[in-house]
């Protein structure tokens, strides 16, 4: 496979914000046809959608809660992609980080703040090591990282399944680990909702990722390799080293997404832990045009898609999978953005004439 990712990555960074906005509008417009097929009124369905996502305090907080792992997973994909590396194994890295954190959470006793820090670091280290496999394979064996990261998702799913069902299963019907100790939990910050302190970690990580990428030598080198690997190599920047570091930091972020989800929300690891947050991270960061700050708002939107679609399913029996279809349509229009950009340019030109 050729190195086609670079051109798009450059482009995304200079793409006007209007592109993802139009992609989303187009997805909802096309999606209306599918809602019509279910025999419902799309406008009513979308009103339900908005009510489900933002309609009351609980739903709004639920949307924000879902945006926590989505933002971190988005940052994970973004970080590697800035180096020209496609990490589509964030789902597997998230799972590995989550189960490692949950094990440290219930097996080890530590004082509160230290325990929390240890859990986050555990998630980061395990996520980084797991992603590092793909990094090493790319740097030293020339294995395409799209394939290797994708393939590594499956062993992660089976391994965590095995551990939670056959090794660390707590007594009870549900295949889940025991609850982590209270000292490792992240507290709920708004009573009667599920919004937890993980949101502060999200804010910290956004600034950290932005800082690393823009203000440090490491970030400069990573972006240089992503921008033009040949030129970077000529100026003495090691491609191998930066590819491995970028994908490991990406994996660390994905692992943190998993551990924060354990600490703040579920307090344990269970079978089929992630409803695709790792995969969604790809869409989240592309819709955010690879900007760390925009990633949060993009994640809010994807969180809203999840909570809003639940409401649509409950009241109108519109299958929730519709949102995954929307996600595909949005990505499609971001890939083929010239489809409508050209059209818009024509309109603007006519107005001027």
């Amino acid at each position: 496979m050729a190195k086609s990712s670079f051109s798009l990555r450059e482009w995304l960074e200079t793409t006007p914000i209007i592109v993802p906005v139009i992609a989303v509008i187009l997805a909802f417009a096309f999606g209306a046809l599918f809602i019509l097929a279910t025999g419902h009124n799309p406008i009513q369905a979308y009103i339900l959608f908005i009510r489900g996502a933002f309609g009351n305090t609980f739903n709004l907080m639920e949307t924000i809660t879902k945006s926590i792992p989505l933002t971190i997973a988005g940052l994970a994909f973004l970080f590697a992609y800035r180096c020209g590396v496609f990490n589509i194994g964030t789902e597997g890295q998230l799972l590995i980080g989550a189960i490692a954190a949950s094990l440290v959470g219930f097996l080890i006793k530590l004082p509160p703040v230290i325990h929390q820090i240890v859990l986050i670091l555990t998630g980061a280290v395990f996520g980084a090591l797991y992603a590092g496999i793909a990094g090493w394979l790319k740097a030293y064996r020339g294995v395409n990282e799209i394939l290797s990261t994708l393939m590594l998702n499956y062993p992660a799913i089976y391994l965590t399944h095995f551990l939670v069902v056959k090794v660390f299963k707590a007594p009870g019907v549900v295949p889940a680990t025991p609850l982590i100790n209270k000292s490792a939990e992240l507290p709920v910050i708004i009573p009667d909702t599920r919004l937890h302190a993980g949101i502060f970690i999200v804010i910290g990580l956004i600034f950290l990722v932005d800082f690393i990428l823009r203000k440090t030598v490491l970030g400069y080198e990573i972006r240089a390799v992503g921008f033009n690997p040949t030129a970077a190599a000529y100026s003495g920047i090691s491609i191998r080293k930066n590819v491995i570091i970028a994908i490991m930091i990406s994996g660390a972020l994905a692992g943190i997404a998993g551990s924060v989800e354990v600490m703040g929300l579920h307090h344990r690891f269970f079978d089929q832990f992630s409803p695709g947050y790792g995969f969604d991270g790809i869409s989240v960061s592309l819709v955010a045009l690879l900007n760390p700050f925009a990633t949060f708002f993009s994640a809010l939107f994807f969180g809203a898609m999840r909570t809003g679609s639940t409401e649509m399913q409950i009241f109108q029996e519109i299958p929730r999978q519709l949102m995954t279809l929307y996600q595909g349509i949005i990505l499609f229009f971001i890939a083929g953005q010239l489809i409508f950009i050209t059209f818009i340019r024509k309109i603007i030109r006519k107005r001027k004439e």
Binding site: S4, L8, R141, Y154, Y158, F162, L325, A335, T342
Partner: protein
């Protein structure tokens, strides 16, 4: 160990490699024209769903087959439109189509049957019985009582070789994948040629999905492609984009998958966890790519959109 290597293993190998073989040629023809088709996985999934639904509603599995080709080509058309006409990013478009197919098939399943998971049983593709082969030991297992898709899969390397290397259209497709600018100067319509290649790719990918739902099983299950589209892409790289080599690579991945399945029977879950065997195909794919490929160089113009110079 003698249980493992048997006629049953051969039969399983054929059963598991057939969709990979069809899919690897779907990837081959598209990439040789210069368009990376990462959406194989999604086209397989949609093809599997369409085939099952076609067979379910008409009772005729051949209509299901047609439906799988149609949905594959429709998705290919979208891919071609975004990446060829509008020079969009081939990788993101491929991922987008995969995501859309996961959502789309799940949505349709829920809509029609009011529950997720899988469709009811549908009529599978009939197996063709060749009377004089019935009593021949190995060949009887290999060739007899197979579906039309298996015969097609084993003809594909020949067909594809002849098409790509001996026909004008095939040579044009390869030219567009190596040097579209020169091809254009020589009067080849690069856009049209790539469209044709991508559409054939979609048709094949859809068909390979049909094998999963109306031959391997008699129903569609959510996410039943389970990474096979990606393994086909790995086989494409392992076979270095050449018809005979990619055929062997796909056969190899089918064979290892068959061994894994057979081992699951030999070693019960109590002795060795099933999860080890289930992970094996993916781990092995990575190891094979790491160990044997060396430098994999695809078609020179692969992944790059072509922009015709404006006069």
């Amino acid at each position: 160990m003698q249980n493992i290597f048997s006629e049953a293993l051969l039969a399983t190998t054929i059963n598991l490699s057939t969709p990979l073989i069809i899919a690897v040629f779907a990837g081959l023809i598209s990439e040789r024209s210069g368009v990376i088709n990462l959406a194989l996985e999604g086209m397989m999934l949609a093809g599997a769903c369409a085939a099952a639904l076609g067979s379910y509603f008409t009772g005729n599995p051949y209509i299901g087959l047609m439906a799988s080709i149609a949905i594959g080509m429709l998705m290919a058309l979208a891919h071609a439109y975004a990446t060829i006409t509008w020079r969009g990013d081939q990788i993101i478009s491929g991922l987008a189509l995969i995501v859309a197919s996961v959502g789309g098939t799940g949505f349709i399943l829920q809509l029609i049957f009011k529950h997720g998971g899988n469709t009811p049983d549908v009529t599978p593709l009939p197996r063709i019985i060749i009377p004089f082969l019935q009593n021949i030991p190995v060949l009887g297992v290999l060739i007899n009582k197979q579906t039309i898709l298996v015969y097609f899969a084993y003809l594909l390397p020949v067909l594809m070789y002849l098409f790509l290397y001996k026909t004008p259209l095939g040579m044009r497709i390869r030219a567009c994948g190596e040097d579209p600018r020169t091809a254009d100067t020589l009067g080849i319509n690069v856009y049209l040629t790539r469209y044709i290649a991508v559409l054939i790719s979609g048709a094949l990918a859809g068909l390979s999905g049909a094998y999963l739902s109306i031959v391997q099983l008699s129903k569609f299950q959510e996410n039943m492609s389970a990474g096979r589209g990606w393994i086909a892409i790995a086989a494409l790289i392992l076979g270095k984009w050449r018809p005979w080599s990619v055929f062997l690579a796909a056969l190899f991945f089918g064979f290892t998958d068959a061994i894994q399945l057979t081992m699951q029977v030999v070693f019960p879950d109590s002795k060795l966890p099933r999860e080890i065997f289930l992970s094996l195909p993916y781990i092995l794919t990575i190891l094979v790519l790491a160990g044997f490929v060396g430098k994999a160089i695809g078609p020179a113009a692969g992944g790059k959109p072509y922009e015709k110079e404006q006069l």
